[in-house]
């Protein structure tokens, strides 16, 4: 009735598989993208760039990656932080090793390196499942972070063990280093997020995405109907690690500019990304972004409202925030295991009949 079509009027496979089934959806989406691309960059300040937009875009990419593995392929991973570290250190080596390389290529190559590492750590998934796998992925988290602490080549023998991003450009515009303009990094990350969301959407509605979902729903049954678990699981690990590697590379080079493995890629990062996809919605692209926005904005909210307005000491605000996030996770798992995005789906169903539900 209002905003929705009143029934199912699809007549072709193409329209059944369309990302936006309504013209209004399409207009809204492209309108939003146009505002984000052509209007926001003129107003974006350093504060908004560094503490809202970049974290949101980068974590969205990471959450998309983990969602491919956990939400679509059903393999729970707690190694996200470690894979982000691989992406970050690969981009650092590429930036310092080949100074003239375009930043876009650096990011993609860093993603590829991470994909290789991801496949390596994904190999056990063929033998072990469920919690055993979740715990096994922790091995990658601890091992990789240790490796980047101890392997001096990886941080170019810098005495502090810290890595710093030099100035590099994308098509002539600086996107890393101290001389960047907020709008440049904003647009760079926005563009990458758009590309990756588009890739994800097209992967999950195609052959490979369907084989992932078959493995997720029941791997033995999937194997019997002819899905090759080796190919499906390892490809999920590869694609997921690629995304997470890209996110890690952006996290270090574009957002932070400097990193040090024990702090920046600690196990909290793995949990944060896992929480994003649980809260946002497992197996949903929109959900990954909603979850990322939620987890990114919550601390900012707590900091500004509790500390800024109510004058509560920082440590108490921080503990309250931890309790709140934990409680929220439990709440969502109990009440809405499909995450925030499920509310959106229900709303759409309701709107279809509104205001005459009978």
């Amino acid at each position: 009735m209002f905003y929705r079509e009143a029934g199912d009027f699809k007549t072709s496979y193409q329209s059944d598989q369309a990302t936006f089934t309504l013209r209004l959806d399409k207009i809204l989406f492209w309108g939003l993208m146009a505002i984000a691309t052509f209007v926001v960059p003129f107003f974006v300040t350093e504060y908004w760039e560094k503490s809202v937009f970049l974290p949101f875009f980068i974590y969205s990419i990471a959450a998309l990656g983990l969602n491919i593995l956990t939400g679509y392929c059903g393999q729970v991973s707690l190694g996200t932080g470690g894979f982000m570290a691989v992406g970050a250190y690969a981009s650092f080596k590429l930036m310092t090793g080949i100074p003239n390389l375009d930043m876009f290529l650096v990011i993609m190559l860093a993603g590829l390196v991470t994909a290789l590492v991801g496949v390596l750590f994904g190999l056990p998934s063929l033998r072990i499942k469920g919690f055993y796998l979740a715990v096994a992925t922790l091995a990658s988290q601890f091992f990789l972070v240790w490796l980047f602490n101890k392997w001096e080549w990886s941080y170019n023998y810098s005495p502090t063990g810290q890595i710093n991003a030099p100035t590099r450009d994308f098509l002539g515009i600086d996107v890393t280093g101290p001389t960047t303009a907020p709008w440049a990094t904003y647009l760079f990350c926005l563009g990458l997020l758009f590309i990756f969301a588009w890739i994800t959407r097209n992967l999950v509605r195609g052959h490979i995405g369907r084989s992932w979902m078959a493995i997720r729903d029941m791997d033995i049954a999937a194997e019997i109907i002819g899905v090759n678990p080796l190919v499906a699981k390892l490809s999920a690990f590869a694609v997921s690690s690629f995304f997470i590697g890209v996110a890690g590379a952006l996290y270090f080079s574009v957002w932070l500019g400097a990193a040090e493995p024990t702090e920046a890629f600690a196990i909290d990062k793995s949990f944060d990304v896992l929480f994003m996809i649980i809260i946002g919605g497992l197996g949903s692209i929109l959900g990954s972004m909603i979850g990322a926005a939620f987890i990114i904005l919550l601390p900012i909210f707590f900091k500004n409202v509790l500390v800024g307005y109510c004058g509560i000491p920082t440590d108490i605000a921080e503990f309250t925030q931890i309790v709140f996030i934990g409680a929220l996770i439990i709440f969502f798992l109990i009440k809405e295991p499909h995450g925030i995005v499920a509310y959106w789906r229900t709303l759409k169903e309701k709107l279809r009949l509104w205001p005459f539900p009978y």
Binding site: G130, F131, A134, A136, L138, F142, N149, I316, V323, L333
Partner: protein, 321 residues
């Protein structure tokens, strides 16, 4: 040869003792997993919470003193603390209450959900408990002393020239007592039989009149007790602070190695990992930069699982469509 090296035996023994400590934490996981099929990620935070509560009672801290100070109440301590034994009993009481709350609030609505959902719920639980623990008792590092002997054991030092902490020996003794009593409890008491029945088959247990809720409550209380013991032992060793909750991460590879469902597995796995990581750190660590303890256990467990996916003593995994 390495076994003529005097250090070898010292490392072996300290590894075994450290392994007992790991096993202590792993035990809490196994108990809950066996009875409810829940992989309780919050076990480490449970140990932290128990230790914090114990210290709080011992020193007579007022809970939520920080929060109360927001409303103008600036007292942080009652007059005096409780004696250790009373504080221990009170802490146990708090853990039992906590177990009841967890079962009522978190587990009851999640009955019949997939294991992985429950696992993620316990990660949420870990966050809540960590925050509440810090809010209640403050986040500073606290010293925990319940009168266990400390320092190197002179008898062993004199006789064999080996440096072994008394605290670790007492921890080993406590762990052995705990394991034996838990085994006796689950084998020879009515409650223990009910526990094993629930572990075997939820529905069959329900149909012969065993209340799942009560059993879960008991199981979580028992693992609260194990957490308290682990928290006391680790807390006495390295102070009560946030990093105490990370011992859970140490216990995970132990579980993978030993199998999630086996109490002997937790012990043997703990010993293997304790000895393995100490020896690896001593002999191979210097060659590759040291601090290998963080990941060695995981890598060992990972390689092991490749060949035996159910762990050493786990039940054979049978899957049907």
């Amino acid at each position: 040869m390495f076994f003529l090296d005097p250090f070898f035996y010292e490392i072996l023994i300290s590894g075994l003792l450290a392994g007992v400590m790991y096993a202590l934490v792993a035990l809490g996981f196994v108990l809950i997993f066996k009875a409810s099929g829940i992989f309780n990620f919050a076990q480490g935070v449970l140990a932290l919470f128990a230790a914090l509560t114990l210290v709080g009672f011992q020193t007579g801290q007022i809970p939520f003193a920080h929060l109360l100070s927001l409303f103008g109440l600036h007292a942080t301590h009652w007059g005096a603390g409780f004696p250790t034994i009373v504080a221990l009993l009170f802490s146990l009481g708090v853990m039992v209450l906590l177990a009841w709350l967890i079962v009522q609030i978190v587990l009851k609505p999640l009955v019949n959900q997939e294991g992985i959902i429950l696992f993620m719920a316990t990660i949420g639980l870990a966050y809540v408990l960590e925050g509440v623990g810090d809010l209640m008792w403050g986040a500073n590092v606290k010293e925990l002393n319940i009168g266990l002997p400390e320092g190197p054991s002179e008898i062993i030092l004199d006789a064999t020239d080996m440096f072994i902490d008394k605290l670790e020996i007492s921890a080993a003794i406590v762990a052995i007592v705990l394991v034996v009593s838990l085994t006796l409890f689950s084998q020879y008491t009515k409650m223990g039989r009910a526990l094993r029945a629930v572990a075997d088959d939820h529905q069959a247990a329900l149909s012969v009149g065993i209340s799942l809720e009560t059993i879960w409550w008991i199981v979580w209380s028992v693992s609260g007790l194990v957490a308290l013991v682990a928290g006391v032992m680790w807390g006495a060793k390295s102070g009560v602070q946030f990093s105490l909750s990370l011992i859970a991460l140490k216990a995970l590879p132990v579980l993978m190695l030993g199998g999630f469902t086996s109490i002997p597995g937790a012990i043997v796995g703990g010993l293997i990992i304790g000895v393995g990581e100490k020896l690896f750190e001593f002999y191979i660590g210097p060659l590759i930069g040291g601090a290998t303890e963080n990941w060695f256990a995981y890598m060992l467990a990972l390689l092991f699982l490749l060949f035996r996916p159910q762990g050493l003593f786990g039940e054979k995994i049978i899957e049907r469509v």
